[in-house]
Assembly symmetry: C2
DNA sequence: CGCTCTATTGATAAACCTCAAATACAGTGG
DNA sequence: CCACTGTATTTGAGGTTTATCAATAGAGCG
């Protein structure tokens, strides 16, 4: 049950007519990535830019001690590695597929040419980038000043918002995601994360399973997210 | 001794010839902001986009408990509030001048038209946005996994890099900045910050004064920044 | 010289991480 | 269908970093 309905406001083809959009798509190459497959790796030369057609990517950074920080989850309709359009640099993070994903891959020059022909494309990409800056700033602030409880709640809400899937018990996340990844996304450890959500499960706010979480009572999670 | 030399690579007028650049500038309006003056406030409608010609802006978010998070310091040559080009939204942060600053202010429509005429402008702005995303991701990771020592060192290095000014004793920051702001920028409290830098001052790595810090031994600060 | 704003320092507390170990779960092959 | 193996998750105990609070000291300014 893939959530392939793009938000038109934050779509790179917003305000671009279908034939032009198809031209742009045809400049790229479709690629399938297997679960846990790596699309691009932090530190390698940034040559391509990707549009996510289906599936979900984990964008993460790993430091020298092996600590993984999940920068974001990238969802259908978004682009990633926009940096490669502009500067001859290296990818600042690693992208790997959480499930089976299909992306469209453009090389720098093709996309640059497309932008010169269709400036609206640049404006749309800027919109996506602005949204990411906003989200990163929010998460930075949260990590700085909020308790793990709130951050965990917010992390769950973000995932549910971006990849939520209604089931009979509540809303679950569209792809398999382990505690370690959830914890990294929330900016905490798997241990603290585990303790926190088992507390919530006892309250009946959640249902948990192996690599899976279902939010039963959104209101309660929102309340925790909102509290100091 | 203002550091008004823009880095051409990350300048919004990169690859744009002078007459076109002047056209773009003339679409805007020059504004002077007094020290501590507010340019735009978090949550208010995002109507304008700003180019910093001279001076430094503090971009910050303040939560309900009054905790200030300094998202970044914006320096000459950069733009801020790029979000207002694209979406009819509110500013995600507050910008205030740290010293006397002069900015060029564009309204959304003027800049949109300019982009449609000169797509290179969009590409340049995307470059600046990509740089900011990269920096935010770095800082997020640091806040997540590094000790306050390293973060404080990195904060000092960033400021020195962006607004450093060579003096006879070492490199000092171009504008007056108090401990509270330095601490916020490093993601810690004024107390921890104070303790840490007085330790470093005793080692002879720094000279400190009221609202002022001079880095004497960059190498030692770099070493602390680099350590786990 | 007093007033205000900024910075330092000490004592205390607590949130959170680290490490160790136990338990649950899913898939596999017998 | 069941035991087995590897992985994921939970739980506990203990320690450490870092925030919090309170109080003092210093700098600039009229």
């Amino acid at each position: 049950m893939p959530s392939t309905s793009f938000n038109t406001d934050s779509n790179i083809f917003h305000k671009i007519d279908e034939s032009a959009a198809n031209d742009i798509i045809n400049l790229g190459r479709i690629r399938e990535i297997k679960p846990k497959g790596v699309l691009f790796e932090e530190g390698t030369p940034a040559t391509h830019c990707f549009f996510i057609q289906d599936g979900h990517l984990k964008i993460s950074k790993t430091d020298m001690d092996g600590n993984e920080t999940i920068v974001r989850y990238a969802n259908p309709g978004q682009i990633t590695a926009a940096i490669s359009i502009i500067q001859q640099q290296t990818y600042p993070a690693t992208a790997s597929a959480v499930d089976s994903a299909t992306v469209i891959e453009w090389d720098k020059d093709s996309l640059l040419k497309a932008i010169h022909r269709i400036p609206q494309l640049a404006i749309n990409i800027m919109g996506l980038m602005a949204a990411r800056i906003g989200e990163l700033q929010d998460r930075y602030q949260e990590l700085n000043h909020e308790r793990t409880d709130s951050r965990i709640a917010k992390a769950l809400l973000r995932l549910v918002e971006q990849a939520g899937c209604q089931t009979k018990d509540g809303i679950t996340i569209d792809f398999a995601i382990g505690r370690q990844d959830l914890a990294s996304f929330a900016g905490t450890t798997q241990f603290t994360f585990s303790r926190t959500i088992s507390k919530w499960e006892k309250q009946g706010w959640l249902l948990t399973g192996r690599e899976q979480v279902t939010v039963v009572s959104i209101e309660d999670i929102v309340r925790v997210a909102e509290q100091t």
